[in-house]
Symmetry: C2
Subunit: 300 residues, 2 copies
């Protein structure tokens, strides 16, 4: 009897035999060295506690220094504690913040800034951009910087983060400088890359993503929840540096500036697993996996 | 007070003023003619009844005639009734079929075929391929055929459907010819385009997608549910032609071979809504929306 419901198994596990000359992701990770992995920086990590579990966001201060600093300030002031996820729009974003932000009951920002200059892109000078070979619909050159998907334009000298699945951005109004990080959204569907360079991206969900993607979709316009009861409370939001060490996520992330990473990308461009009848030998930047492993592990 | 949680409103509604020379999606749809819309063919439409509601799939017999015919046979024989969604893997797929397919208790296929030749691509001859201007990571030329995202290779003379969000494919084992449509999956995350030409795609979810995307993720390998209790029963699956007329989805779909559609694509390439600080003037094929409207409606 054919393993019908388990179709697609072969090409996602390392179990299937592969052409020796063509590594699989599993074989690449197995051959990785400790130096191919990087630790998390505790001050760059947000922990969002929901009733259903914990969502972990790695922030990218190199791209959005002012917004990341403001988010850190808001977190330290416990601004987010007791606020809520206010929106879930299918194939698009989930978003959290202050449901009362438009009213007199809006929570004050305290020492944090109420608005900030947009950080949609930055000068590519000095940024360790690691390109990949990919024909991209939206940018001339795509790759990775410090573990985040990014694009570069050598004509303008700019580099910017990309709206791939799981990326976290700063809510804003029509004015480009109207955001401050008090309302954040995460991409939960196909990459809305037209938002690139139109929003300040501050990081990416690296754990607990399924807690956000499985949220009921809001029935209001743009997926906003129509009643307070539908909103999903944020019990607390903390920085890694605020948590006891044993409560921090104990993972390391694959570096994206190594030969091992290049081999991983190659293994996903050409899928050598037996299941693939027609490997395409191409990849789109948002389809490049960014693996984590338990800290200090010698296996993926 | 800034409308913080409602950020991103402007660029998704037609409300924002736009450059007159640059239409928005809303203005394009408002200007559409009845001939820009097409009805559903009842024999091409699958209705999956779950406890939570109804999922509607439009099938693409032009691309997978044998698989679509087999699925119709299975549906008419009530093969799917009482089976289940067996898998939900985050940022990838949800899948349904017979949980007992590997056991002696597997449900028999009756008059339907147990296996079928792969229908991964087809001869482009005679296929009304409507290209769009898009630089694609995976294919030389992308566009639409009869409302479905597709690619074409003039060198090989092939055309095939694309694994965009919501597309429905046929589960198979390692053997390319091992599927028969009794196990189907739907893309619930970023488009896994490396599966193109490796799986027979049979259609797309056109209604009720959120019922599939919000399913709890399975905790087994590849997102399979680990216990019978976690599986989501398929109460019944019917063709439109089997349902009373008033129970069929009363929508028409925007045609993808018209000047109106070209204008819609243009409106999504260059986002003229005020919110956009940096319209990119580019689009990726899976980001082209495929609107429905109530049958006979004069407004979108």
């Amino acid at each position: 009897m054919i393993l019908r419901p388990f179709l697609l198994l072969a090409f996602l596990t390392g179990a299937a035999a592969a052409d020796d000359a063509r590594p699989t992701m599993a074989s690449v990770l197995e051959a990785s060295e400790p130096a191919d992995w990087r630790p998390l920086q505790d001050d760059d990590v947000l922990y969002l506690q929901l009733a259903s579990g914990r969502v972990v966001v790695e922030m990218a201060p190199a791209f959005a220094p002012q917004h990341v600093a403001n988010v850190r300030q808001l977190v330290r002031d416990k601004y987010f504690d007791g606020l809520a996820i206010v929106r879930s729009q299918d194939n698009y974003v989930a978003q959290w913040g202050d449901p009362e932000s438009e009213t007199d009951a809006a929570r004050p920002f305290g020492k944090a800034s109420a608005t900030l200059p947009a950080e949609f892109f930055r000068d590519a000078n000095g940024v360790p951009f690691h390109p990949i070979d990919s024909r991209d619909a939206y940018a001339k050159e795509v790759g990775f910087v410090n573990g985040f998907p990014a694009a570069r334009d050598s004509a303008t000298g700019d580099v910017w983060l990309l709206h791939c699945y799981g990326m976290v951005g700063v809510g804003r109004d029509t004015d480009a400088d109207s955001g401050n990080g008090s309302s954040l959204y995460v991409v939960t569907g196909h990459a809305p890359r037209h938002l690139d360079r139109n929003v300040t991206l501050i990081g990416r969900v690296i754990d607990g993503m399924e807690l956000l993607t499985t949220l009921p979709r809001g029935t209001g316009p743009l997926g906003f929840y129509e009643s307070a009861a539908e909103r999903v409370p944020l019990r607390q939001v903390r920085l890694g540096s605020e948590l006891p060490k044993d409560q921090r996520l104990q993972v390391e992330r694959l570096r994206t500036d190594t030969e091992t990473f290049d081999r991983l990308v190659a293994s996903r461009r050409y899928r050598a697993e037996d299941w693939f009848a027609n490997p395409v030998d191409a990849i789109e930047v948002c389809n490049v996996p960014l693996p984590s492993r338990p800290t200090g592990s010698s296996v993926p």
